[in-house]
């Protein structure tokens, strides 16, 4: 595409993605430098390479200025077509490659999102099946055994039905534990706020790490946002238990009109930058990806001896 002036170039750059932009330094109105600066200040065209065309050698002095505003090259006029062609070809190829990279990143992200949501659905489904079907049958069985026990007179047989009853009870407990582990029914019945409180209590019971929890009054939140927040919370706690050597965790959940925010701080050894970028940080990556799905954000900060703080925020799209 061809523009006759800086203004026109800007207009075109607003509406189109270019592999490379050739700019004359001297143009009527806005000059080439200013045009390049404006073009690169836009999100859409911030990475677009700019090649400046200059008429005279004295303008070489301003080359630095050109590089500052994002020039990748300079060409002297008169332009040799072969040179121009091969330079442009390089950038066109680069553009095509980065485009392809972006596409495949996008695909991977969508795939990850899909996998997360499938896994969540599957877990919920299995939890419901196990809990409802298996649990109810066991309940029925317990009642039958109870009925039988009432009609027995032999002490030996009554002892048997008693131990059957106990076995059924412990099986029900196991079923409940499995189902809750897959997906806590609290999340669906009572919502995120109650579920976070419950999870913190369970965590303290399981690890001996004391939790101080600050929760807002209960409100109904979007179930997908709730699930996302809850899973991130679980991942944070898993990390605390595994790596932090903390004796205490402070948890705060805040719900505002536009977003829900979770802040978890421990008093452990503190996460290092190496931990965050290391190969073992897949869990952290998972948290980021989950949050990103809903336009949210996870920030992790830590310093040796001062514990780790994880702050998560997820916007609520007017669904609160």
């Amino acid at each position: 595409m061809i523009a006759q002036s800086g203004e026109e170039a800007l207009r075109l750059a607003l509406k189109n993605d270019f592999a490379v932009i050739l700019l004359d330094v001297r143009m009527p109105g806005i000059d080439g430098f200013e045009t390049a600066r404006l073009i690169r200040s836009r999100e859409r065209s911030s990475q677009t390479p700019v090649i400046f065309l200059t008429a005279a050698a004295d303008e070489m002095a301003s080359m630095f200025r050109g590089y500052e505003v994002g020039a990748v090259d300079y060409l002297m006029k008169p332009v040799v077509p072969e040179v121009l062609k091969s330079k442009v070809a390089v950038f066109v190829e680069l553009h095509r490659k980065s485009e392809r990279l972006r596409e495949s990143e996008d695909k991977l992200r969508r795939l990850a999102a899909h996998l997360i949501s499938i896994r969540e659905e599957e877990r919920a489904h299995i939890a419901r099946e196990i809990h409802d079907e298996l649990g109810q049958v066991l309940t029925g069985l317990k009642m039958e055994v109870g009925w039988l026990a009432k009609r027995l007179t032999s002490e030996e047989l009554i002892e048997k039905t008693d131990s059957m009853g106990k076995l059924i009870d412990s099986t029900v407990q196991t079923v409940r534990k499995i189902a809750t582990g897959l997906r806590p029914e609290m999340l669906d019945d009572m919502g995120l706020i109650a579920a976070v409180g419950w999870q913190a209590k369970e965590f303290q019971k399981r690890t001996g790490i004391r939790c101080r929890v600050k929760l807002p009054p209960e409100v109904k939140l979007d179930i997908d946002v709730s699930t996302t927040m809850f899973r991130i919370f679980q991942e944070i706690l898993t990390n605390v238990a595994r790596h932090s050597r903390a004796t205490r965790v402070d948890i705060e959940l805040k719900v505002a009109v536009e977003q829900v925010a979770l802040d978890v701080a421990d008093n452990g050894v503190g996460i290092s930058d190496g931990d965050m970028s290391g190969k073992k940080s897949l869990g952290l990556l998972g948290m980021h990806e989950r949050a990103l799905l809903f336009g949210g954000d996870v920030r992790i900060s830590g310093s040796a001896g001062h514990g780790t703080r994880v702050s998560v925020s997820i916007p609520l799209r007017g669904k609160a």
């Binding site: 409802d132 109810q136 049958v137 309940t139 317990k142 055994v145 009925w147 029900v172 790490i209």
Partner: protein, 209 residues
């Protein structure tokens, strides 16, 4: 005593029916398998006590309790649930249920629970009763374990979980001496003499599983 029973699972309804059939002064006047059916049934037949599953398809448990309480303030709703009472019972009672029992405890407790709520009383299991009592106690003053520091709390939890001083020292990267010092301080702060006493306290206050 006229009783309605509601549960979406036939096996459970059958079990309930059988249990109640053994009592000569009870009669099951109707059965429902979801919230909507309960509402219709409650209008159609005369009843005194409704025994409801907390989680049926359609209306959720709390809504159903509220609706029945509003229409029939003098009659009792007893909740029967697969879910542990520590998480759900208080909510159900607040919503107006006269009692809450888990399905596991039904064979032993159901009949006496129905009699109790039919007489205008409230029914909670002894376990829940104890828990509510403890909470009241805790509200009056700081519970003993809250006087411990975070580290002491952790050591207390480990002792209560049955770990030895050696194991605790290894897990926390502390010397056995330090752990012993913590232990002495914990026992003093909590006014106790032995690990066994500590364990008992931790279980009673649901600090360990």
């Amino acid at each position: 005593m006229k009783v309605i029973i509601a549960d979406d699972h036939p096996v459970v309804r059958q079990g309930l029916r059988q249990m109640l059939a053994a009592e000569s002064d009870f009669s099951v006047v109707g059965e429902a398998k979801n919230g909507q059916e309960v509402v219709e049934l409650s209008r159609r037949v005369p009843w005194e006590v409704a025994v409801l599953d907390y989680n049926m398809p359609g209306k959720n448990g709390l809504e159903l309790i509220k609706e029945l309480r509003q229409r029939y303030p003098g009659r009792a709703v007893l909740i029967l649930s697969m879910y542990p009472e520590d998480r759900y019972a208080v909510r159900a009672l607040k919503a107006g249920a006269a009692g809450y029992l888990t399905k596991e405890s039904a064979p032993e407790e159901l009949v006496s629970a129905i009699r109790k709520v039919a007489g205008g009383g409230r029914y909670v299991t002894p376990t829940l009763g104890e828990k509510l009592a403890l909470e009241l106690e805790d509200n009056r003053g700081k519970p003993l374990h809250e006087t411990l520091s975070d580290r002491e709390y952790q050591v207390m939890w480990m002792i209560a979980s049955g770990k030895t001083v050696r194991q605790i020292a290894d897990e926390l990267f502390l010397s056995p001496n330090t752990v012993s010092t913590h232990r002495t301080r914990i026992l003093r702060k909590m006014n106790m003499k032995s690990n066994a006493e500590l364990m008992h306290y931790a279980i009673a206050h649901h600090l360990v599983d």
